[in-house]
Amino acid sequence: MSLIDLVSEKVVKIPLQSNDKPDVLRELVQILKDAGEIADYDTVLKAVQDREDKLSTGLQAGIAVPHAKTSAVSSLKLALGIAPQGIDFDSMDGLPTKLFFLLIASPDRSGPHVEALAEIAKLARSQAFCNALVNARSAGEVVELIQGD
């Protein structure tokens, strides 16, 4: 399961409206709810918050990868939120986070989850690509960038 199979305009939001970490998590899960990808908003949000409580998924260079496993989904779900202004997400380097990749997986489908996370980790190494995503003007442009078209 590749990232480009998961991304579509309906699961991309730019710019995010949130100003702090708890709101970002709620807004990301809401993207999935609005896109019809999940039915049980509360269960998914709790799974994400529980994981985040253990250690922030805010990485370096403005990227965060909140993720969780929950039986509230039957297949892997992705939401991508972009906050060009940056939001404090308790990141490793202390810098504001601009790209948020939310991944929600079913407990019995760990393989695709790991592969998607690994793909995001590879993406995060390309500062130029991340800058292009942050500077995108629309969800459509974000999807085009990820699909490489």
């Binding site: 793909e119 980790a121 993406l123």
Partner: protein, 162 residues
């Protein structure tokens, strides 16, 4: 002329495409009399990379590896059942590590002459980062590779197999 195909190996990764590939491989094994292997690789390399990138916690690494091993067993058992229903024995191969390397090793170790894989993504990125493990195995395998498409047709073919 020697047998056209003697040993077939289908790569299973838990996707619907790989299950379709397994159905096709079973049909092919039934038609040719070839031995059939089903290979699932637990991608511990990716899990280790996620730990290094600090996306995973140490206990998450163990939890995911455990889950993935359970996935592997479940899917291999499922493919085995698919084969048994059609009278085709399936030899299960479960390994862990870097996926494309493990696939190549399994091909070489079992003298496989045809690798069967599921359909790769419809949309491929130009970015090097986006190639997937099955595609890497496809490019690296010394044997012939068959990419299975059209799940509906394959299902009909599998169902009609005696």
């Amino acid at each position: 002329m020697s047998s056209l195909i003697r040993k077939i190996m289908v790569y299973i990764d838990g996707t619907e495409q790989s299950v379709t590939a397994a159905q096709y491989a079973i049909c092919l094994a039934a038609a040719t009399g070839a031995d059939l292997f089903a290979c699932y690789v637990v991608n511990t390399r990716a899990v280790e990379d996620l730990l290094k990138a600090r996306i995973f916690l140490a206990d998450e690494q163990l939890e995911y590896e455990h889950d993935m091993e359970a996935d592997a067993e479940r899917y291999l058992n499922y493919v085995n059942e698919l084969g048994l229903k059609k009278g085709v024995p399936v030899t299960k191969i479960q390994s862990k590590g870097s996926v494309h390397k493990e696939i190549i090793d399994a091909i070489n170790a079992n003298d496989v002459d045809l690798l069967v894989i599921g359909e790769v993504s419809h949309i491929r990125s130009r970015r090097d980062e986006f190639y997937d493990e099955a595609e890497r195995a496809m490019r690296s395998a010394a044997c012939s590779v068959l990419i299975v498409k059209d799940a509906d047709r394959v299902w009909e073919m599998y169902e009609s197999l005696g």
